[in-house]
Symmetry: C2
Subunit: 326 residues, 2 copies
């Protein structure tokens, strides 16, 4: 089976690639495991190919038709579309966000339609599609009212995928991901970047700035569970999704104060003391418009699951990233 990951050099893309290579197979649309014979990693920067002969890396602009035509052919039967401009950057550079989050997503669907072989296509979406006055627990049928350009672009991509799926151009599915925490590496331009930074930096002996109030509630998922969910989401039986291809993924609802308490529980007072609160109105406005919790019974009914508590998320981060506690 030939598989494509867009954003293949990114954090989730690389982890997903590693996991697919380790598993060695992916279920086809009939539910039968098939060996992954070719894994194409597309990104604007060179992706790591892990020295694995099944991997083909491609460097290119995903908003260019010729690039998509190079990586999607009629043998490409599974596509994970992870490439995106993150929330903070899409707010700062409107045109870039529209080009990558909207135009490239549409071009990807259009390329599949031209090929005519109805591949399985998984889009990732986000808490940012919600906004405005929200119920305490967001339901599957809560209206979208994004309060950021990133959220609007993701909501539009969801609608496009739904319609391309309804028309039979692709076998599509969208997973709305909670905020991913704890991400390893450097801070990024996402408004939610702090949700990893306030755990990662203190564990690394460094100070971290938290730009939102301690009472701010987040909806989180670990990278480990996110990767599991992406694979399970692609393997879901199409018929079970019916006319609504979008799933809200299970996550944990925690306040920043609870995150700090979990850090203290796992790594001690000294680590927790490295977090400095410096409110940033721009970040608070974006993050504050997102729901802190959503009803995920539909996803759970389809076999998807999240974590139980945030201390376990920190422990899995320490384990996966081989962190030495100081």
């Amino acid at each position: 089976m030939k598989v494509l990951i867009t954003g293949g050099a990114g954090f989730l893309g690389q982890r997903l690639a590693r996991e697919l290579l380790a598993r060695g197979s992916l279920k086809d649309s009939q539910g039968t495991p098939q060996p992954v014979t070719e894994l194409v990693l597309l990104d604007v920067v060179q992706a790591n190919d892990f020295g694995d002969r099944r991997v083909r890396t491609e460097v290119g602009d995903i908003a260019e038709r010729s690039v998509l035509e190079r990586v999607i052919d009629d043998q490409t039967s599974a596509i994970f579309h992870l490439a995106a401009i993150v929330s903070g950057q899409a707010e700062a550079d409107f045109d870039l966000g529209m080009r990558i989050n909207l135009d490239a997503s549409r071009l990807l669907l259009e390329t599949c339609r031209q090929r005519g072989h109805r591949p399985r296509v998984l889009f990732t979406s986000s808490v940012a599609v919600y906004g405005g006055e929200l119920p305490e627990v967001v339901q599957d049928d809560t209206a979208l009212n994004p309060q950021s350009s990133y959220g609007a672009q993701k909501a539009i991509a969801e609608l496009l995928l739904n319609d391309y799926a309804r028309r039979g151009f692709v076998d599509g599915r969208v997973l709305r991901l909670p905020t991913i925490s704890v991400r390893p590496g450097k801070p990024n331009a996402a408004a939610s970047s702090f949700a990893s930074g306030i755990i990662r930096e203190p564990l690394n002996g460094e100070a971290a700035v938290c730009p939102v109030a301690g009472a701010t509630r987040l909806w989180l998922l670990s990278p480990r569970k996110a990767i599991e969910s992406l694979i399970a989401g692609l393997e879901l039986d199409s018929a079970a999704l019916g006319n609504q291809r979008v799933l809200n993924l299970p996550g944990i609802s925690v306040s920043v104060d609870e995150m700090v308490a979990a850090l203290r529980e796992v790594a001690g007072d000294a680590a927790a003391a490295r977090i400095v609160f410096e409110p940033d109105a721009r970040v608070e406005k974006i993050v504050g418009s997102w729901p802190g919790r959503w009803d995920t019974s539909r996803a759970e009914g389809l076999g998807l699951s999240g974590e139980r508590n945030f201390a376990d998320v920190i422990r899995s981060y320490i384990e996966d990233e081989h962190i030495q506690l100081r």
Copy 2:
């Protein structure tokens, strides 16, 4: 004040133009009436200019940037964007629907953004943005789940307008119109075309085919009230709309059987007997996915209103179109 109507040669566009010319003024964004000094009617076909010197007609493709740049300048302070590919045609010709309902709407917003003067822009949207499993009465915060390409394209245009408004590129507002009935003239390619045809043709002494079952519930608005609502919607105080620029317009919830009964009440048994029921699965599928009623308390709170009963709608059609009952 310079005003633009896209779809200016269409049924609603022409009626709106006539009404604006008759009123002679439109409130500006401060709520002060200003004389309509220039009314630009853009369409793919030549619009009627009513022999009025304030009217400038433009023939052009609204999905062309140069056409939009010709009709929107930094003096254009009110834009009614009515141009659209109707539901049945957008389902039959996917590319055409995407080009006009999505690309042209975006290009219009983008042209306003380039001009930089933040004009008031009103988009019309539709019942077709809803679909799937719906509550009996659709609420303002019921999630969109369009089951037609037309509905998906309209939902995307709503999201675009909301984001362009949030960023201050336009002073935007969207009115979701009920199905308009009774439209004069010929049937069109809208899936809902019958909702006018089953009244118009019998009043004209002709047979009409109804492609859906008598129990099918529709959400209707007369052309007269639609025009009133478009003008009131554009004149609404921007601050009152807040971060949600979309309004569900008041309408009447009637079944096809009730429409037939109203026709009998107004025009007698012979007229009602001219309706022949011939179910068409394609139309039933599209129309059946639309809600038959929605909660319009928000629009009513802002001063918008619909009709009381469908017999009155038929009577206003007879009056407006000078129909002689036979």
